[in-house]
Subunit: 397 residues, 2 copies
C-alpha cells in the first residue's frame, strides 16, 4: 500500500457531522495524517446518527476512516494547552463550528497564527465567517434553499425540490479541501499560512454556473424544467416499458443516429426539429414522439440499441444497482470492504479521485471514541502516560 | 491585487465545455497561470452555447476568466511539437476528452511523463480512464442517472429527478481540482508527477455518502422523499402564505423552540412527536400540523420569527433573489462585474473559496479565440513572430 500523495501533511480535524469530516476524509484518504479531535464522552454528533452496524454508526464510520481518534476538551485550560502543542506541529486545522466559536475559545485563526505562522486554517460554515448572515445556523437544506439550487430542481408547476443527497454539505467539503490544498502549496513554497473560509451557500451558488448566467445575461429567471436541460434536446429522461431511461443527444449528428435507431426518418426531416435550437424550443412536441418508440422497449433494450451506434444513453440506477454495478463497484472500486473492530466487516464508499501511482485508499477503519489517545498524546504531543491518565480522569481527554 | 496562492504554477488547459474548464477556472482564480488551448477557428464548443452578450457566450466567459487563450491544432506535427515544448515548462495538464484520445495523438500521460517526469496530468471523463464502460460518452445527465443521484431526488411516487444544475460536471471538476492540487503538493516535495483520473459517475457516487450507507448497512433502498431528510424532522419545506419556506429543527431543543413560536405546546407534549426518531417516523402527521401555522404567515414572517429565537429557517431563493442578496452578492462578493473587450460589462460568478490573504479573484476576462497567441508563443514557447504567423497561416495555430 502506498503512503499517498499527502504523506507527511499533518491535519487537526475538529469537524463534526458531514461537510468538515468529508474534507478531512479526502485528505486522510490521500495520505495525510489526520487527527480527529472529539469531545470527551460524547464525540462527533454523527456517532449517534443511524444507520448502525453492531451499534456503530455507518454515517460516522464512512466519513472518518483513515483518521486517528483522540478526545480533547477545548474548554479546559489543559485541553487548550495540549491543542496549542498540536498546532505547533501541524500543517492544517479544519473546523466547522458556528463562526466565532473558536475565537471565543481563544483558538481562532489570528490566535493560532501567532503560535504557528504557517498554519492553514480551513473552516466550513453555513454562511461563512463574515457578512450579515454569518451568525445564522446553516444546515444543508438551508444552503440548497438560499443558494438557489432548490428553485431550479424539480418539475414545471411543482414544488422546489432539494437534491437527494446533502449536496450543500458535500460541495462545502469539496470547496474546503480545494482551498486547504491550494494553501498547503503556498505554505510549502513560502512558509506562510492562510485562513480558508468556505460557506455552504457560496458553494451552492458556485455550482449553479450556467444557470445563474442565464439570469445575469438575459434577465430571465431559470425555473424548474424537470430532467431536460436549457441548452440541448433530446437530452432528457424518457418512458420505457419498465421505467425511465436517459437519452442524451447533444448535437445534430447524435439526433440523426437516434432517428435511425427509432426507424423514424420523418423526425429528422420535420422542420420543427431541424436544429438543436428548434428541438429545445419544441421539446414538448418531440418528447412524446420519442416515447412512442422508447415505451415499446425495456430500459436495457433502449440503452443497448443506442450505445451500439454511439448515442449516449443510460438507465437511472437505484442505489442497489449502483452498489452492484460491475464498472462502478468492481472496476472503479467505489465500494470497499473494511474490518472495523466493533462493527466487523463493513462496506464504505471508496475514493472518487483515482491516482496512477500514490493511490487514495482506505487504510484503516474509523476510530472508536478516543481510540488513539495514548498513542497520539504520548508520541505526537510528548505527554507521559501518567499525565494522560490524569487528563482522562479530569475530563480533559 | 494579490497574485494568489498558486502563483507560479503553470497549467495547460485542453478542456472543453464544463467539468474541465471549471477545474481550470478554479486554478486560475487561485493564481495559477492557465493557458487555455483551443482548436483553431472553432475553439471550445461552449463558445457556441447561449446565453450571449454582444455575441459572446456568457457560458464560456464565466468558466474561462483569468485564462490566457491560444489556439493549437494537436493533429499536426508542428502543433504536437509546440505542445511538447509547453509540457516541458508546465506543472499541470488538464483535459476532458473521451479516454484514449490523447493516447491516439501520442500525448497521453505515459508519453508526457517521458518528456516531463514531474507533470501532473488531470483528466475528467464520464466513466473514467479504465473499466468496462470507459469508452461510453458520459455527459452530466448520465453521471447523475448512473451514479444514483436522480433515483433519490424528487417526490414519493413521482419521477426520478435531476438536480437543476449540471451537478455531475461540477462534482467532476471539483474532484479533478482536488486531485491535481494534491499531486502538485507531492510534486513540489518529490519532483514526481501523477495521473489524476476523475469520472462524473464516481464523483456522483462519492457525493451520496450517507444515502449509500443506508443501503449498505441495512439493505433498504433509499428512495425519493421530497424535501425531508432521512435523519431529522421537522427539517423540510413547509407551505407559507406566499410560497414555501424552510424550517430545519435538527434536535429536540430546536423543536421545542419551534412549538413555542407557533404557540402550540400540545405539539411538544404529543407522544407521536416526543423524540427526533418519532418525529421522523410520524413526519406525515406532523407536517400538516406545522403548516396550520406556517400557511397563515408570509415566508418573511416565518423566517424572521424563527431566526429571532435561533431556529434555522430560510426562504427558497429564486435566482434573481440570489443575485441581489445583500449577504451573498455584496458581503460575500459572489457576483463580480468584469469588462470584456467585446461583451462589455458582464457579471460573472465569483469565487466560493475565500482566503484571508492571497485571495482568489477575477483578474482578467475570458480570452477571445487565440487572443494571446503572439504573447504566449513568443514569450513562453520562444517562437519568432515569423514562425507564429506561418503557423497561423497553416492552421497549426
Amino acid at each position: 500500500m502506498s503512503k499517498g500523495l499527502l504523506d507527511g501533511i499533518v491535519v487537526l480535524d475538529l469537524t463534526r457531522v458531514l461537510a468538515g469530516p468529508y474534507c478531512g476524509m479526502l485528505l486522510a484518504d490521500m495520505g495525510a495524517t489526520v487527527y480527529k479531535i472529539e469531545q470527551p464522552k460524547k464525540g462527533d454528533d454523527s456517532r449517534a446518527f443511524g444507520p448502525f452496524v453492531n451499534g456503530e454508526s455507518a454515517y460516522y464510520m464512512n466519513l472518518n476512516r483513515n483518521k486517528l481518534g483522540v478526545t480533547l476538551n477545548l474548554k479546559t485550560a489543559e485541553g487548550k494547552a495540549v491543542f496549542i502543542e498540536m498546532v505547533k506541529k501541524a500543517d492544517v486545522v479544519i473546523e466547522n463550528y458556528r463562526p466565532g466559536t473558536m475565537e471565543k475559545l481563544g483558538l481562532g485563526y489570528e490566535d493560532l497564527k501567532k503560535i504557528n505562522p504557517g498554519i492553514v486554517y480551513g473552516c466550513v460554515s453555513g454562511f461563512g465567517h463574515y457578512g450579515p448572515y454569518s451568525q445564522r445556523a446553516g444546515y444543508d437544506i438551508i444552503g440548497q434553499a438560499m443558494g438557489g439550487l432548490m428553485s431550479t430542481t424539480g418539475w414545471p408547476g411543482g414544488a422546489p425540490t432539494r437534491t437527494g443527497t446533502a449536496m450543500g454539505d458535500v460541495l462545502g467539503g469539496l470547496g474546503c479541501t480545494i482551498g486547504v490544498l491550494a494553501a498547503v502549496v503556498n505554505k510549502i513554497k513560502t512558509g506562510e499560512g492562510q485562513k480558508v473560509d468556505v460557506s455552504l451557500v457560496d458553494s451552492v451558488v458556485s455550482s449553479l454556473e450556467i444557470i445563474t448566467q442565464i439570469y445575469l445575461a438575459t434577465g430571465r429567471i431559470p425555473e424548474k424544467i424537470g430532467n431536460r436541460y436549457e441548452s440541448a434536446y433530446p437530452y432528457d429522461s424518457f418512458k420505457a416499458k419498465d421505467g425511465d431511461v436517459i437519452i442524451a443527444c447533444g448535437n445534430d449528428k447524435l439526433y440523426k443516429l437516434l432517428t435511425e435507431v427509432m426507424e423514424q426518418p420523418e423526425l429528422l426531416s420535420d422542420e420543427r426539429f431541424a436544429t438543436n435550437a428548434l428541438r429545445v424550443k419544441n421539446h414538448a412536441e418531440l418528447k412524446p414522439l420519442i416515447e412512442v418508440w422508447s415505451s415499446q422497449h425495456t430500459i436495457d433494450e433502449v440503452v443497448e440499441s443506442l450505445l451500439a451506434v454511439g448515442v449516449p444513453s443510460s438507465p437511472i440506477n437505484t442505489i442497489d444497482r449502483v452498489v452492484k454495478d460491475p464498472h462502478i463497484a468492481v472496476a472503479r472500486e467505489m465500494f470497499v470492504e473494511v474490518e472495523h473492530p466493533i462493527a466487523g466487516k463493513t462496506t464504505l464508499t471508496g475514493d472518487h479521485i483515482k491516482f496512477s501511482d500514490k493511490k487514495a485508499e482506505i487504510r484503516t477503519p474509523a476510530p472508536t471514541l478516543g481510540q488513539h489517545n495514548f498513542d497520539v498524546y504520548e508520541k505526537f504531543v510528548g505527554l507521559s502516560e501518567a499525565v494522560i491518565n490524569e487528563y482522562i480522569e479530569k475530563g480533559v481527554f
